[in-house]
Amino acid sequence: MLRHRRSPSNNMKVPQEYYDEIFEFRGQWDMPSACGLKIREVEGLTYVIVTEMYQENPGTSVTYAGRSLAEQICEAKGLKLSDIIYLECTPDTNSKLSFYDEEYFRVDFSGERPAYTQMSADELHRILSHKAS
């Protein structure tokens, strides 16, 4: 797990370790929106990890954007939605505010509504330890 020392600040900046690039996307009602993005190849599987940027995201959250965001990433990166493992990350922002701890969820878009499964730290560490593709 990425762990950061808590500071008294509440500026909630998302540490850069969480992403390789900022991905700009069209959020709900085309609101200009942004998320952190990492893509990893692990054992023949493509992991797409989107990170909520809070104050640095001017629009829709990654969770609310859901499938639309996943499709926009796939289109931009030449991926197929059915071929990727899609993970949502809420990062630890060093905030003194509660409820802003690090969490990862695997999202399955095959049903009518997205289905979420929280990932274990071990699984996640294995993915993140691989270099960017």
Partner: protein, 431 residues
């Protein structure tokens, strides 16, 4: 340009059981009305204080909604006007939060802030080309364009309780730089704090024929320099006002008190000495405190909630308002609980912050509901909410008398509460 007759409606919602009824003059509709071109003749009905006359002649209907609990009533109103062949628009905070649902029920949905945009909308209407969606999300108009609200549309006698007028709502800024867990303001108004120019604020505030205001900005504690200038500038107006949090700084608190701070809404989220001292610092400056206590967060066990309720007795709050965690769309709370599959109720009528619509982490929904009811009963067991409000009212009345701004009760309305005849000796509580 021929006159357009626009019927502007603020739908009613079910008030929370057991709480004191107060109907404040709503801010959204009159802020919207101020952005309409001059050739639009507006007739306003706040359904919380009067019935809608669906037969009143009009060319176009506009629904202005703030709360999630207004949304479904808004759809019913739209249906009724559709049966009469009228076109219906919708806008406002809850139209934005529930836009995907709302767009199915109205002819035109306005998303975003309306300053500088309504001329185009009205022109489209005249041409018979009203768009299904006017989407200005994320495109904030210059904050300088925010002008005085159309408060002339209020029927003032309907916002009066036994001769005492309700406070007028006022905004000195928009947007919020914080991302608080249960709040959607940064989604709606932008993640950047957008203060109005001080001279505009003063001009606007001075023009309100009411000495008591509620500055509804999400938090005034966002820019200390602006706060300092704001309080210095409005002090000569001698208004008395309620607000959300003020900067915890001796100089700012002193300036706020001199500028007429009456009481503030302050979140009480733990039992720390910091909270105790924070409340004391307001009181030391003559500013009252209404504690806002959110119950059902993931870090609260039953014991934590009971301790928090007991703690309120130690910190000398003037009033307390309890809410249960409610996952409003476009909040982090919504995202988290949705991912965890813990939201079991998506009926927006139940999103009133008094009804549990999700599975709490440490107790059953029913137990959280009981604790919510217990919190209200416990805090007000020795002195009713209405009596505590009366104490705050007396404090402000005394200050106004000292400053020569006090206006006696309107004797005409002494037996009326929000337009209805009442027994003035009976308590004003929702059944």
């Amino acid at each position: 340009m021929d006159t357009i007759k626009l019927k502007l409606i603020y739908p009613k919602w079910q008030k929370l059981r057991g709480q004191t009824t107060f109907n404040l003059p709503p801010h959204g509709p009159v802020a919207f009305a101020a952005t309409l071109p001059e050739y639009v003749d507006v007739s306003f009905t706040d359904e919380n204080v009067e019935e809608i006359n669906f037969d009143e002649p009009c060319d176009l209907v506009a629904l202005s909604m703030m709360l999630s609990t207004q949304v479904k009533r808004g759809w019913e109103i739209a249906d009724e006007y559709h049966r009469r062949g009228k076109l219906v628009m919708a806008g406002g905070i809850s139209s934005m939060l529930h836009a995907e649902d709302m767009v199915k029920h109205v002819d035109s949905l306005f998303l975003g802030e309306s300053e500088g945009r309504m001329e185009q909308v009205m022109q489209d209407f005249v041409r018979g080309e009203l768009k299904k969606v006017y989407n200005y999300m994320g495109q904030m108009p210059p904050i300088e364009d925010v002008g005085p609200c159309r408060r002339d549309l209020y029927k003032r006698d309907l916002y009066n309780h036994k001769g005492v007028p309700m406070v007028d709502l006022f905004h000195a800024s928009r947007g919020c730089r914080f991302s608080c867990y249960p709040c959607a303001v940064s989604y709606l108004g932008g993640r950047k704090f957008r203060p109005r120019p001080i001279d505009k604020v003063v001009e606007d505030m001075a023009g309100i024929d009411n000495n008591r205001l509620f500055i509804v900005d999400n938090s005034l504690a966002q820019n200390k320099d602006w706060e300092r200038e704001l309080f210095k500038a409005i002090a000569p107006l001698k208004k008395k006002w309620i607000s959300h949090t003020i900067e915890d700084d001796p100089e700012i608190l002193d300036l706020a008190a001199k500028a007429g701070a009456w009481y503030v809404y302050q979140a009480v989220y733990d039992t720390s000495d910091y909270i105790k001292e924070r409340v004391k610092r307001y009181h030391d400056n003559g500013i009252g405190v209404e504690g806002t206590i959110l119950l059902g967060l993931d870090n609260q066990t039953e014991d934590d909630i009971k301790r928090l309720i007991d703690f309120l007795g130690e910190i000398d709050l003037d009033l307390a308002e309890f809410t249960v965690m409610t996952p409003f769309p476009h909040t982090k709370g919504y995202d988290d609980l949705l991912r965890q599959g813990r939201i079991f109720d998506f009926d927006w009528n139940h999103y009133n912050a008094g009804q549990v619509v999700f599975q709490p982490k440490h107790m059953s929904p029913e137990r959280l509901q009981e604790l919510y009811d217990y919190a209200w009963a416990s805090f007000y067991k020795d002195e009713s909410q209405e009596a505590k409000m009366f104490n705050l009212f007396c404090q402000v009345a005394l200050r106004e008398m000292e400053e020569g701004t006090y206006r006696p009760r309107d004797r005409r309305l002494i037996n009326k509460s929000f337009g209805r005849i009442v027994d003035r000796h009976k308590r004003n509580v929702n059944q």
